[in-house]
């Protein structure tokens, strides 16, 4: 990959959208379901220290969308952006989650819940990065 134009504000916006979708997904939408499936209790979740957790997660998301933006250098339309992001999800995210699920005794529904969040995040990021050049 040579020199290319990357809109860092779009990368930042994609990472923010990832966090926002995460709050919705693991909160109002599927929070209860996630706790039931993963075996976490309200008390355990409350005892986590959310500051560093979300901070680290945000930095990780910035890295992901920066690299996504690099792979999207040739895309020009929103549909192409969503397609590239969807391919990343299919090839390097859901496949990894799927094999992890196969080789574990965790409920399969947890795989669908987690990978659905990733799909929604990648589609949003692909659209943002493609549209905001």
């Amino acid at each position: 990959m040579g020199e290319m134009h990357i809109n860092y504000l779009a990368v930042l916006a994609a990472a923010i959208s990832n966090m926002a979708i995460g709050f919705l997904w693991y909160g109002p939408l599927f929070g209860k379901k996630w706790m039931a499936l993963s075996g976490y209790t309200e008390e355990q979740v409350k005892s986590m220290n959310p500051g560093p957790l979300y901070g680290q997660s945000f930095v990780a998301a910035l890295l992901t969308y920066y690299i996504l933006a690099r792979f999207m250098a040739g895309t020009t339309t929103m549909m192409q952006g969503i397609e590239t992001a969807g391919l990343v999800w299919l090839g390097f995210v859901t496949t990894v989650q799927f094999t992890a699920s196969l080789f574990s005794t965790r409920p399969k529904a947890l795989y669908f819940l987690d990978t659905g969040y990733q799909l929604a995040s990648f589609i949003a990021a692909g659209a943002i990065i493609a549209l905001w050049r």
Binding site: M1, S57, L63, L68, L90, G91, T95, L102
Partner: protein, 140 residues
């Protein structure tokens, strides 16, 4: 511009990842992995091994097929380019995914090291195979 996919290289990449998995989660880190995940021989025996390994192989083949597209997007033509593509895909997507899982589920960092290490070595390997193995007709 649609990439020319070398399906033999895709299958060989999937076989390589599968074989590496047998070594990684068997000889190299099998004991440690069972200890950290709480998986026992008895629990493992309950699962349908045909479905588990068959499913794993299909997902590796899908990954290799999609990776062939990214090798093409990155214009990787040789061992170095293939390894670089594998590294970026690993760092951006697989590694981040595994780190976030470890953070939010408060799982062991040693387990992350085992799992992320496997993904890194296999994506490097697959990138190298896919980038350097070009069909003779692909240049026409």
């Amino acid at each position: 511009m649609k990439p020319v996919i070398n399906y033999i290289a895709v299958v060989v990449s999937a076989v390589a990842k599968f074989a590496l998995g047998a070594i990684w989660y068997g000889v190299l880190f099998g004991q440690k992995w069972m200890e950290l995940t709480g998986m026992t021989e008895a629990k493992a025996a309950e699962a349908n091994m045909g479905v588990t390994y068959g499913g794993a192989f299909v997902s590796y083949a899908l990954q290799a097929y999609i990776m062939a597209h990214f090798v093409h997007y990155a214009n990787a033509q040789d061992v170095k380019g293939g390894a670089q593509t594998g590294f970026w895909l690993w760092l951006g997507f697989t590694f981040v995914l595994l780190v976030q899982g470890t953070l939010f589920e408060q799982r062991s960092w040693t387990l992350l090291f085992i799992n992320a290490g496997y993904e890194l070595v296999s994506l490097l390997l697959m990138g190298i195979i896919l980038a350097s193995w070009k069909k003779k007709t692909a240049t026409a």
